[in-house]
Symmetry: C2
Subunit: 422 residues, 2 copies
Amino acid sequence: MGRGPLAVLRQVAAACACPELLSSPALPEAARHRARRVLREMDAGNIGGYNHEHRALGVPTRVARFLERRDGGVPCNPGNVVLCSGTASILPFVMSLLVDETAAQPTGVLVPVPGPPLHGAAARLAGAVAVPYPLAEERGWAVDGDAVRRALGRARARCLPKALCVVNPGDPTGHVLSRQSMEDIIRLAGEENVLLLADEVQQERAFLPDRPFLSFKRVLGEMGAPLASTVQLVSFYSLSKSVAGESGFRAGFLELVNMEEGVMVPFQLAQSIPRPCVLGRILLDLLMDPPEDGDPIQQALQEHTQGLRRDLAHNARLVQEVLGRAPGIRCRPLHGGARAFPRIQLPPRALRQARALGLEPDVFFCQELLEATGMVLAPGSEFGQPEGTHHVGLSLLPPAETLERVLLTLTSFHAAFLRRFS
Amino acid sequence: MGRGPLAVLRQVAAACACPELLSSPALPEAARHRARRVLREMDAGNIGGYNHEHRALGVPTRVARFLERRDGGVPCNPGNVVLCSGTASILPFVMSLLVDETAAQPTGVLVPVPGPPLHGAAARLAGAVAVPYPLAEERGWAVDGDAVRRALGRARARCLPKALCVVNPGDPTGHVLSRQSMEDIIRLAGEENVLLLADEVQQERAFLPDRPFLSFKRVLGEMGAPLASTVQLVSFYSLSKSVAGESGFRAGFLELVNMEEGVMVPFQLAQSIPRPCVLGRILLDLLMDPPEDGDPIQQALQEHTQGLRRDLAHNARLVQEVLGRAPGIRCRPLHGGARAFPRIQLPPRALRQARALGLEPDVFFCQELLEATGMVLAPGSEFGQPEGTHHVGLSLLPPAETLERVLLTLTSFHAAFLRRFS
């Protein structure tokens, strides 16, 4: 969005990497102060080693306090917080724990359609079967409990479904689940005895004040016994999708809820879990446990976060306004996340031409768009979409002027496309 | 070894993280110059993004040139170099590609005894069977081809062996393989049709000039047709075990040799491969492609490397001298790596007492050592050892004075232990 990196985070990283900067006026004192605190916790005062205790104890303890604040006081045990190097590499590991190769039936994992391609790929990599369930487009891409149950029922003929992936805020849909909807999903998980895999990595990008992000952990905790102490949940958080947006640092964490103790052992001990690099952990820690009010780092973080949400909300309104005027394009309300997923009408002649070329119709549309305008959009089939419908995925992250140009290009190309194939 | 981190690397990392330092005299100009070059290659000149091209193309190209220099000109295709976040998390991924869950027999992976506990654990995590093969202690822990063949033969009754792990320089043994021995292993891999998994992460710590480290890739290449173009090999390199010793940055790479093209696809594309953080890649890149002769970074790197090898060689001599005088302790020659693995004689009465306590005899010895002296050594059973023998694992990395104290404590405790149980 043209904001650039959050400078305070980088200043802390630089001072931690290079202790000679701790006493240099080249960096602001607030950053050096924080770095000194970080280094006191490192083995031999240095970020070069494995620093097991920082990873397994120090940062998780502060993450747990952050989660308790986020969740209105629902308690969090730091032992249930596991740092990782990002969702893409930890998700297959989590799913692999559900797979029993000696069982007669393979393990099934339910994944939303549309949804991030990662989830299905992770299931297959883990040796499980990805079972798609459709989101309810007509209800703004909410999760439809009946549709999940139908998918579960059909899946049981070919696998043993053990987990249900829910993405909130939705990607690519931009939908933020209501508390009511989350309670329904939790009850369903309890009744059907499936683990909830809550992909909540877009949580800091919920931008509508009247549709705030609620974590599954919070809603579960507030539902009380017996569900609160029985429904199993793994929630994912990623530095890449945080307000800091630092994808290069490869850091994130899981919270595991209501797991048997035996399940926690591989998470705490396995050498083979991809662990975050030390600077990634340090930045994550800074977001989870920023300095007190009044500290310049705290102030910079707050301003950045507010600015980011304001810009996202502005861009979302822009999408609704521009696409709302376009015949044959329809975008559902956007509440959060980094993408819109408008439906685009494609005329029958275009479908036939796509078929003749051996392409999905939305891929054909995006290729034609690329050739005519030089603009790349993601075809809906990358994320999955209801049978017989067509969508495109749009990023909400460019600066507003760029996004406006993208939207105008899309609508005028689409209008010409409708004429061409009418 | 009391050296501290390699300051030039950290200076480059700091300047990359925090571009306002690029023009600050707080960092040496050589580091800022390098950082400017690095940032030119980053998307939007910033390390915050995924920077796919830097990971998949830029750094691998320079790694390939480094490998060609290392290997006396044996060619390397950058497309066969895959960056990863370290051996521990990529090894199970590589092994999982050998596992076919629908096959009648499970996949077997041969692992050396003694060897890093990681290898057997990775095999089990990947759904394969770890098949131990003994190293030849009486030949300084060389690989004994006949012993490997016997292990293969026995393994075929219960699994389909598909890979042979070889650790060179040996860990915990400190043995560096001779060219002759490597040629034998390569011929064996060709005859038995197994993939060679060459754990060469200790390669920069070969410290004896008359026993230089040779990579399997080089020896294979120099053996010529038909082996050079048929034996399949994966070699592992790690920033943690490099001269820089930067474990916190989680970076390394694989080189894959003689793979079918289909095998390369998951390595190039899979989102789920644990990828190194951007600063880890930048440091790795700096080791692979340092500035020209005369540049202060190049000079600092050379001095650091020479100093490290000199210190390791000095420490290895110290181990041989002190342990060589101790009755009942025997350490084989040390050529490289970061550990020694001396054999310790334990008297029959100590074995009986250990059995009564339900402990491995070497664990009993190490516990008694800890209680009497406060010193922690790794019992040999952590790495595996020949039936009926007992060893301890010793780090070669402390400063010489510390290591000398460790050795004297060990030998005097062992002498007292022999008397106590005689």
